[in-house]
C-alpha cells in the first residue's frame, strides 16, 4: 500500500473540492461546539440573565 497524492491535470479541481469540504465541515464542527458551549454557560443555575444572548 503506497500513497499517491498526485492529481495530475485535475489537481485544482481535486484539491479545491477537498479544501471546500474541509472548510464547510470544519466550520460546522466549530459552530456546533461554540453554540453548545455558549448555551450551556447561559443555562447554568448561577448564570445571570444578562449572559443569555
Amino acid at each position: 500500500m503506497s500513497f499517491d497524492f498526485d492529481a495530475g491535470k485535475y489537481a485544482p479541481y481535486v484539491w479545491g473540492a477537498y479544501a471546500v469540504s474541509a472548510l464547510i465541515l470544519g466550520g460546522l464542527v466549530a459552530d456546533t461546539l461554540a453554540r453548545a458551549r455558549r448555551w450551556r454557560r447561559a443555562a447554568r443555575p448561577d448564570a445571570s440573565t444578562e449572559t443569555a444572548p
Binding site: S2, G8, Y10, I24, T32, W39, R40, A42, P45
Partner: protein, 239 residues
C-alpha cells in the same frame, strides 16, 4: 429507544456519552477512508478526478438523509408538539444546509473536468439538489423571522414536511429524466456497479459522514435544550 429519549433528561444523559463516541468514530472512519482513497489507483476514464467522488457522494447522501431527519422531527414536532422534536429539527437544518452546499460545490468541481461545465441549468439532478439547499435555507430564514416560538414551530414544521416531496425527486431525477449526472452506482437494483477498490473507501467515507452528522446533531440538540433552559431562567428572573 426513541420514546425513551423523548424525555429531555434521558436524552441529555444519553447524548453526553453518545456524541463524543460518534465523533471519535467519525474521525477514525474519516482517516481510514482517506487512506484507502489516496492509495486507490486512478480510474480508467476519470483519472485522478475520481478522488472527488469520495467526498462528493457522501455529502450528497447526507444532504438527503439529514432532510429526512428534519422532516421526521418536524412531523413529531407538529403532531405531538414535542419540544425535543422541535429542537432536533432546528438542529438538523444548518447541518443539512452545510452538507448540501458541500455536495453542490464539490459536484461543480467534479463536473467541470468531466462534463466541461461548472453548472448546467435545467439538469434535473443539479436543479433538485439546489432546491433542497434552498429548502434548508428557507427553513432557517423562516425560523429566524418568527420570534414567537409557538408560531415558529408549526410554520417551520409545515415547510419542512412540504419539502419532503423533493427527496424522491432528487433520488430518481437521473432515472425519470435525461440528465448529465450519472445514474445510481451504489444504491441501485442489482447491487453496486463500482469495483471494490472504490466502493470500500466510498462506503467508509459515507459512514464517516453519517457518524459525524450523528455527533454534531446530538451536540446541537443539547445546545437547543440548554438554550430553552436559559430562556426559562431568564423569564423566571424577570418575573
Amino acid at each position: 429507544m426513541i420514546p425513551a429519549l423523548a424525555n429531555p433528561d434521558r436524552f441529555m444523559a444519553f447524548s453526553r456519552w453518545a456524541a463524543p463516541l460518534l465523533g471519535a468514530l467519525a474521525v477514525l472512519l474519516l482517516a481510514a477512508g482517506l487512506v484507502l482513497d489516496f492509495t486507490a489507483p486512478p480510474d480508467d476514464r476519470q483519472g485522478y478526478a475520481v478522488h472527488i467522488m469520495f467526498i462528493h457522494v457522501p455529502a450528497a447522501w447526507m444532504s438527503l438523509f439529514v432532510y429526512a431527519c428534519l422532516g421526521g422531527a418536524s412531523f413529531f414536532s407538529l403532531v405531538f408538539r414535542h419540544a425535543l422534536a422541535r429542537a432536533a429539527a432546528r438542529a438538523a437544518a444548518p447541518l443539512g444546509a452545510g452538507v448540501t452546499a458541500a455536495a453542490l460545490i464539490t459536484g461543480s468541481l467534479w463536473g467541470k473536468p468531466t462534463w466541461g461545465a461548472w453548472w448546467v441549468w435545467g439538469d434535473p439532478r443539479l436543479t433538485s439538489v439546489l432546491v433542497l439547499f434552498l429548502l434548508y435555507t428557507a427553513y432557517m430564514a423562516l425560523d429566524a423571522a418568527i420570534e414567537d416560538e409557538a408560531r415558529a414551530a408549526p410554520a417551520t414544521a409545515i415547510l419542512a414536511l412540504v419539502g419532503l416531496i423533493n427527496l424522491p425527486i432528487v433520488h430518481y431525477s437521473v432515472v425519470w429524466w435525461r440528465s448529465l449526472h450519472q445514474g445510481p452506482s451504489v444504491l441501485r437494483a442489482g447491487g453496486p456497479s463500482l469495483p471494490p477498490v472504490y466502493l470500500t473507501p466510498l462506503l467508509i467515507m459515507g459512514l464517516a459522514y453519517l457518524t459525524g452528522f450523528g455527533a454534531l446533531w446530538l451536540v446541537r440538540i443539547r445546545g437547543e435544550v440548554w438554550r430553552r433552559r436559559a430562556a426559562v431562567m431568564a423569564m423566571r428572573a424577570a418575573a
